[in-house]
């Protein structure tokens, strides 16, 4: 039974890129059964959680999808990001018919979100193979800290570094709520389906993942890698990542003194500092 929490490298990648991808995580027999639930319209539309349901009671007509969310590895991914007992925000089945020539405009769900430490996640689940000609979802890595309102980024068409979710059946993508994304055109003769589930944290998102690798040297490199579309603003993105990483780990972590130098605003007078130094040596 694979119930590993996310490790430090994975968590740093989530902080840097705004999403994590798990290829073919869901077994094929569950994927096929979920596709059957979709065909029987058990997951149709958008459903908001009005009744305070948890994951175990929100999908009475789609028990297989509920089983997917109960897989030990899926539960561990969720627990690492938003805690072991998050609230369902809403679920949405996305269906794109055959020969749909245009994709969605770029957008971020759902509106300007001024939170700096807390975040929701959205689980994108692809129950069937999604080749590029079928579209998939296009993601923009490193876009999750951008404060924008939903479809007001729709003027942008293409970015250097955009990544299509070309993936095998059973792939799960766990994304920060702020990630920029858009459904792509479907040039095949088949219908494309994807289930998206938004989860809200119910506990402070601190030290929820496997912290054992937090001191590894590669963590700084992951948090510092910028995207081709960031341009001169890449350093501003690093500052925001470091602040979130400090919050997630409960540490004063820094890379290349990006935050440390900004926090250096001494108030002690030079004479006092000298006297203290003399006393310390005595």
């Amino acid at each position: 039974m694979d119930d590993r929490l996310l490790d430090a490298s994975q968590m740093a990648a989530f902080v840097a890129d705004g999403f994590l991808r798990f290829d073919a995580l869901v077994p094929e027999e569950l994927n096929l059964a979920v596709l059957d639930e979709i065909r029987r319209k058990a997951l149709d539309g958008v459903h908001f959680n009005q009744g305070g349901h948890d994951i175990g009671s929100f999908f009475p007509r789609a028990p297989t999808y509920q089983r997917v969310l109960g897989l030990p590895r899926v539960r561990a991914i969720i627990a690492s990001l938003v805690g072991p007992d998050p609230e369902i925000d809403h679920s949405a089945l996305h269906v794109v018919g055959p020969r749909t020539p245009h994709g969605q405009h770029w957008h971020a769900d759902a509106t300007i979100d001024p939170r700096t430490e807390a975040f929701d996640i959205q689980l994108f689940y692809y129950p069937h193979d999604t080749p590029r000609e079928m579209g998939g979802t296009m993601f923009l890595p490193g876009s999750h800290f951008r404060r924008v309102h939903e479809s007001t980024i729709g003027r942008y068409q293409n970015f250097r570094g955009q990544v299509p979710a070309v993936c095998p059946a059973g792939t799960l993508i766990a994304a920060h709520h702020g990630i920029w994304h858009c459904g792509q055109a479907n040039h095949t003769d088949r219908t494309r389906s994807m289930i998206k589930l938004r989860l809200n944290p119910t506990v402070r998102q601190r030290q929820l993942f496997d912290l054992s690798g937090c001191d590894a040297p590669e963590i700084g490199g992951i948090l510092s890698r910028t995207q081709p579309w960031h341009g001169a603003d890449g350093r501003l993105e690093i500052l925001q990542r470091l602040r979130l990483w400090r919050s997630l780990t409960g540490s004063d972590y820094d890379v290349d003194r990006w935050l440390t130098r900004l926090e250096r605003e001494p108030t002690v007078m030079a004479e006092v500092a000298r006297e203290r130094a003399v006393h310390a040596m005595a």
């Binding site: 020539p101 969605q104 293409n158 970015f159 341009g231 993105e237």
Partner: protein, 99 residues
């Protein structure tokens, strides 16, 4: 009495988003809106930008009609990021069979 002569010219708009405010810096994002109706573009439909920079587009005949503004950051928001800040708008007029 002034005669109204229908023009066969149509405007194409090219948005280039650069890595810095300099028109020589590299293109990081782009969009094309074609008033001539020749090209119908969609999100995520290209991996490479049409031009490496604004200057390269100018050399191909595009006219710059808006350069990126540089508003100072608001107090308390110095490290916040939002929309792509280095947006250049270019236009080209092309002949069509309309008129």
């Amino acid at each position: 009495m002034t005669a109204i002569v229908a023009s066969s010219l149509r405007q194409q708009l090219l948005f280039l988003y650069l890595g810095s405010p300099s028109p020589e810096s590299g293109t990081v994002a782009w969009s094309l809106f074609d008033g001539a109706g020749r090209e119908q573009r969609s999100s995520g439909d290209a991996e490479d930008p049409p031009y490496a920079s604004v200057v390269e587009a100018m050399r191909d005949g595009w006219r710059v009609i808006q350069v990126a503004h540089q508003p100072p950051p608001l107090p308390g928001m110095e490290h916040r990021t939002s929309y792509l800040p280095y947006e250049f708008v270019l236009e080209r007029l092309v002949e069509t069979s309309h008129g």
